[in-house]
């Protein structure tokens, strides 16, 4: 029993990491049809920000707290810069954005290698986050890692903040308007250009937050983004493009599925089974779990 509970929690924590990564991607993909391959490098930027901050702030706990907003700003600024320099010239050409952002991602990786060196680096986690909490005691105890709880909390906070922004703020209304019908929004007096840039800033900033979370799990290196970006794309495609609800549900379902299968088989077999499941699901529901009701004619 505790094994099942333990694996479920592990799955939820893997899902939380996936969710943090997919959240920003879902926003930019959903709104602007931009396949942003450089999203993974924004995650890397957030992780390296944590690393740099830790060099000047000796308290690991404090530096982690400072890193969250700073990483959001750094990755967000990189995103806004990318949007301003390249992406806005490529609207309505999603395949071209794929190639261009892929090139940018390779350049950013090389830049990181030049600045921080080829070997991966580490950060120190605050003592509070290296331990674990025992939920069920006894012979067969169920423990959960504090760092995983922290990441889960971070993912929930990000979802809540994003969802409130989209629902309640004027910016959120404008974003939703642009997603539903770009042309109508434009003629209604909404500056879609500005909305796009802001949305891209927020989406990339969320990648920075994901980067901070990943420093608690593993090493920081130039290629860390590419390793996880594919999983994030799977989450948003299966969840339904641009659908927050779908992204959240699918991230957790895939996380739990992966961890439960991994427990009963091996890492590689679990990956294959999850991919087979996704292919089967997309045969049945090509549009993903949730679809957007749109007023567009096409």
């Amino acid at each position: 029993m505790t094994v099942i509970l333990g694996q479920t929690f592990t799955g939820i924590s893997i899902g939380a990491v996936l969710l943090l990564i997919a959240l920003g991607l879902s926003l930019t993909f959903g709104q602007m049809n931009v396949i942003n391959m450089a999203h993974g490098e924004f995650i890397m930027a957030g992780a390296y920000t944590t690393y740099v901050l830790q060099k000047s702030i000796t308290s690991a706990g404090l530096s982690l707290l400072v890193a969250l907003p700073v990483a959001f700003l750094v990755a967000g600024a990189l995103g806004a810069l990318l949007e301003w320099l390249l992406i806005r010239r490529l609207y309505l050409r999603p395949l071209d954005t794929l190639l261009v952002t892929w090139g940018v991602s390779l350049m950013l990786q090389q830049l990181a290698r030049d600045i921080f060196g080829a070997p991966n680096v580490q950060t120190r986690a605050p003592d509070l986050l290296t331990g674990n909490i025992t939920l069920i005691g006894g012979d067969d105890p169920l423990t959960v890692a504090n760092s995983r709880l922290f990441i889960l909390g971070l993912a929930i906070a990000a979802v809540v903040a994003l969802s409130l922004t989209l629902r309640l703020t004027p910016l959120g209304r404008r974003i939703r308007g642009v997603v539903q019908n770009r042309d109508l929004a434009e003629v209604s007096g909404i500056s879609t250009e500005r909305v796009d840039r802001t949305a891209f800033f927020i989406g990339s900033g969320l990648a920075g937050i994901a980067g901070v979370a990943l420093t608690l799990v593993g090493p920081i290196g130039p290629t860390m983004g590419t390793n996880i970006i594919i999983d994030a794309f799977l989450v948003i495609v299966v969840g339904g493009i641009g659908q927050l609800k779908g992204t959240v549900i699918v991230a957790f379902v895939l996380g739990v599925l992966q961890s439960v299968l991994e427990y009963s088989t091996t890492v590689s077999v679990a990956k294959v089974l999850v991919l087979v499941g996704i292919v089967a699901f997309l045969q049945w529901r090509p549009q993903g779990l949730y679809t957007l009701r749109t007023r567009s004619l096409v």
Binding site: G6, Q7, T10, A118, P119, Q122, T130, V217, Y263, S268
Partner: protein, 407 residues
Amino acid sequence: MAAAAAALAAAVALSACGAKTDAGGSSDKAAKADTSGDTVKVGLLNSLSGTMAISEVTVRDSLKLAIDEINAKGGVLGKKIQPISEDGASDWPTFAEKASKLIREDRVVATFGCWTSASRKAVKPVFEKNKSLLFYPVQYEGLEESPYIFYTGATTNQQIVPGLDYLKSQGKKSIYLVGSDYVFPRTANKIIKAYAKANGMKVLGEDYAPLGSTEFSTIANKVKASKADAVFNTLNGDSNVAFFKEYKSAGLTAASMPVVSVSIAEEEVKSIGSQYLAGQLTAWNYYQTTAGAANAEFVKAYKAKYGQDKPTSDPMEAAYTSVYLWKAMVEKAKSFDPEKVKAASDGITFDAPEGKVTVDGASQHIYKTARIGKIGTDGLIEQVWDSGKAIKPDPYLKGYDWASGLS
């Protein structure tokens, strides 16, 4: 006329082929090492860029230290050694290409280097074809011998088997195997399973993560649920960081379930962080803390040359030793000729930092002392056990009945 033209064309084509074969390898003249001048060239072949650079640059530095020391004392057979350093760039075809360049263009008398088994397998045919010598300084999975390679790192019976013997002596009856998904861990685990079967030890599980993988929460849960007495870790590189973070988060400690690692040395401990590793075990032949005057001198010289904060490690020590062993072989043979050097190799000894080592001419491996160490909070590794004497190398594990089915 047409027939004549065809014959001519064929002749040209044939001679072109001939020229190509000549340049490509078998001609003895072109490949012959150049020993005419006051200096002799040796090749240093290491990854100075790419994913392996972190480890291999330290080996290159260590090789240079040995060469400098030998040159300061007059060189080898009255000739100074001139190192030619090439970058294998963590890319196996590049290794093969650079090996060929060192032998054929620089006409080196011997080459020192390589780290991964993949790079060694890539250059092996190049050295064999050109009849030139390679000195390979890293522990590996065994089951190999080449007439033109000297192996100065440990083979399995000098590292993995003693690691298992140590666990057995500590009363550990069950183990869990965790490794990266490629040739070294899979081969090593085959050997470990055969050992366990013969020694009444239970293998409770075996998990491989893709090389470079950083998601270890499920593997940590499986290890924990298995309640094994110990873990044998053949993970390579950065995966170790994620694995040990998750291990600690899962509440597992060196006291409750010790991990024996065979790929974590001082340099890696420094980058993973000793707070995650303190108390865990490693199996090697040398540590920076290994006692003895030869090691004190080596550590002092290395730090003086490269910086006080630089640790020394097992592969660095094996590389340093390999240069001195080559020197001793050349002096005994009174020649740089690879065949004469090989013939003179049996029984050559050197007072290495790890202790006295002896070359076994038959397998071209060396006798090495096995050492189990415990990682300290300061990032250094303290020896907790050693084999007492240097162990005879046995790359094919012929001396072990339980290993008879392995290949």
